[in-house]
Amino acid sequence: MSISRTNSGVLAASAVVLWLALLATGCGDPTAPQEPRQPIRLDEPVPLVFDRAGEPEPEILAEDQELHRGNGEEPQTLDPHRAEGVPTANILRDLFEGLTTTAPDGRIVPGAAGRWDISRDGMIYTFYLREDGRWSNGEPVTAADFVFSFRRSVDPDTAAVFGRMLMPIENAQPILAGELEPEALGVEALNDRTVQIRLDDPTPYFLGLLTHASTYPVHAPSLTEHGDDFVLPGNLISNGAYRLVDWVPRSRIELEASPNYHSAGQVIIDRVLYYPIEDENTEFQRFRAGDLHWTDQVPSNLFDWLGANLPQALSVSPWFGTYYFGFNLTRAPFEQNLPLRRALNLAIDRRILTEKVTQFGEIPTFTLVPDGLPDYEPPVPDYAALDQAEREELAREMYRRAGYSDDDPLEVELRYNTSENHRKIAVAVSAMWKQVLGVRTRLINEEFRVFLQNRAMKRNTEVYRAGWIGDYQDAFTFLELFHSQHPRNDAGYANPRYDRLLEQISTERIPARRRNLMVEAERILLAGQVVMPVYTYVTKRLVSPLLKGWEPNVMDFHPSQQMYFVKSRAQVEAEIEAAPETETGSGEAEDVTVVDEGTT
């Protein structure tokens, strides 16, 4: 009988010993690593060798060119006109090709259209389709296909989420509203291979819009034949580098290189598998176990760990999006209370948030539009130049001016949707408000749909977490969000002057003037403290070091057709050993470029 006492005693004792051991390791050096830090060994790639055309030399390519990509959520649909969300866009980019497409660095390059003309006033675009453009079933891709697809995209019956992307096109607006027939759309087939698009307003980013899924062509005959089922494997006919082979919902989507693609000869990855994996930790473990070559995300707390253990695989680069908090301007306490909004904004220490909470090099920001656009310079407010202590001093002053004090503190609700990252940031922000101003924050974590609805209804919401990833590469994609009629204007911002500015921007034809108008619009927005921008997003992922051909870019577009696997250094060395007589440096050696990863 006394055995069990010893038993539980032993358990208790060992738990205490373990704790003491932890305390002891912590005592000597609180930052001491828990385990010896040795990078996990991944295969090291061979140096890259390119031929004259900039293509990788065949001898460095691995035999197996099958790519396994972790891809966040399961797509809602593979119908390009109804699709939404980044994960779906990734798959569609492999399956379809718009009139334009992007190079690895994000530049806009010819896609299904080999070249185009733009009229001098920027209102008429004429696209000349490639002669060799083909659907995956071998039929040629024609101008009529594009006309059909654009009409379908704006047809209210299609109920396309992104129909408004096509708004700049002539008559798109009345068609979307059901006032005109889709046939009235300003898209016309001049002949079999020429598509002409007329715009309502000059739209400098229009070529960029054409890389979006809502402008992809769909195969009209298969739509007639299969109806809504046209996207299922076996039915889907697409015009991109890959075709759909298999789709097991919430398990995997399998693509293989389409032999009918116009540049099929340059496509090296011959099979792509997309896995919907929502849990970041699971995705990370599956990458480590060798199941994946490419992840969609990285768990946010792993930065140091990855730096020490998997530095060769980690890729982080700025993304075209802003994380911010919004105020409900339609009710107390924020209605007509600029000092209070400013106080809360200034009390947030963005450096701590990005360095200690998000950790992956997110860029602290005070502006809504991310930095780094080629022709736009966000109007940074004066207080951005102060140091945090000065900002906090200013915040306290504003807070008092708004009529609050330690005895009569602000009580405020901060809403965020369920996510580890949002939770951490919200907790940190509420702690900062409490420490700097004495604000009492009630954190409200809501499930996504409830959150969206509460935000939109503007009844209960006071402060809400938000984020916006630009749909196209132009500041306007951020600014239009606060037009009084925008469906996602959850702040309830309604400034006639701002609306007017936006309308002017849409119709302005001179780039420099347009840019100035946009800067002015953002200045108004920031001066009114409609939102509290926190940081510019980064994309972060793990990629097999053997996977090459892709580059980080601000839109985060990475078509599989640009990628390839190279052999590992070890494999090449083994091959050389096995066949010592093989000549490696022949007469053509001067023509190749060698890029040694070790030196870059």
Binding site: R5, L23, G26, C27, N281, N445
Partner: protein, 309 residues
């Protein structure tokens, strides 16, 4: 009879035996409980369970008073640091620099509170429902039990999740939601007990000798139900704590800056390799508590079974 949750059944079966013994021993008054108490004291696992529970309850109640840290204010100089006397964070800090000891204590209060209150809610509904059904008997009883049978077949976890989604997460709602779906077993047991007690000789005898209805209920029926209730409570609390942790895993648990062991364990599980202490401490407390309740419950059940083991 219909075959049901084996746990319930095992309890019912043992209670039958218990009742038989009661019949024999009512002469000696309440000595059965005294016997049970002695038997429980001899069960070392159960005693260890009680000791652990007492220790945890005391720690959770008074621990925060001895600790200088606040459970919601981050210590930005020491985020995600291991346990250390130097920094003063004896269990380390979480990813936001909040003192883990403090959070484990606060989380423990919530977890235990959820466990106990939700169990009491289910106890209340279950006892009321079961007692009414058993006492009234006949057709009403038949229908009431049919209803329980029917509700048994509903996938309950779904309803808890739906409730949390529909009404937002609110700690009182968690109590009620979990409690409201857990009362079925209790209703069945109490109904069975009441039904059989109603016709027992000693009740009959009491009635004949002129005891009032209230006397019968308070002196005979309630004491007899007490045993079942205690066993049931001690086995339901750990189940409820687990349900709460499951809700936390789904992101439907209590609101920050409050926390629960389930929420802490879930956060810790994400940092398995980078900050093992943030899993180790809450998980130890959670597991110890669940172990203790389960051993105590098993011990109570054994103790209430009068056959000498």
């Amino acid at each position: 009879m219909t075959a049901r949750a084996a746990e319930t059944e095992a309890t019912e079966r043992q209670l039958d035996i218990f009742e038989q013994a009661m019949d024999k021993r009512t002469v000696k008054g309440r000595s059965l409980y005294v016997d049970a108490w002695h038997r429980l004291k001899r069960n070392k696992a159960a005693v260890a369970g009680v000791a652990i529970l007492l220790f945890i309850i005391i720690l959770v109640t008074f621990g925060p008073m001895l600790n200088p840290w606040d459970h919601e204010i981050p210590d930005w100089d020491n985020y995600s640091t291991p346990p250390s006397l130097e920094t003063g964070h004896v269990m380390g800090t979480d990813a936001l620099g909040r003192d883990l000891f403090e959070r484990v204590m606060v989380g423990g209060r919530i977890s235990l509170l959820v466990g106990i209150i939700a169990t009491l809610v289910s106890l209340f509904i279950g006892v009321a429902y079961g007692a009414v059904a058993g006492y009234l008997g006949g057709r009403v009883d038949n229908w009431m039990m049919r209803a329980v049978d029917a509700i048994y077949a509903l996938p309950f976890m779904f309803f808890v999740i739906l409730l949390m989604v529909v009404f937002g997460r609110n700690i009182f709602l968690i109590f009620v939601a979990i409690g409201a779906v857990n009362w079925l077993d209790m209703a069945r047991i109490v109904r069975g007990q009441t039904l059989s007690l109603k016709n027992k000789d000693f009740i009959e005898a009491a009635r004949v000798s002129g005891a009032t209805e209230w006397h019968i209920i308070s002196r005979h029926i309630i004491p007899n139900l007490l045993g079942v209730v205690v066993v049931y409570v001690s086995l339901t609390i750990p189940q409820v704590i687990l349900v709460e942790s499951f809700l936390s895993f789904l992101g439907l648990g209590v609101q920050e800056p409050l926390t629960s062991w389930g929420a802490l364990v879930n956060e810790g599980a994400q940092e398995l390799e980078t900050a093992p202490w943030s899993l180790l401490f809450p998980a130890t407390f959670l597991a110890a508590t669940l172990f203790a309740f389960n051993f105590l419950g098993d011990g109570l059940r054994d103790a209430l079974d009068p056959r000498d083991r």
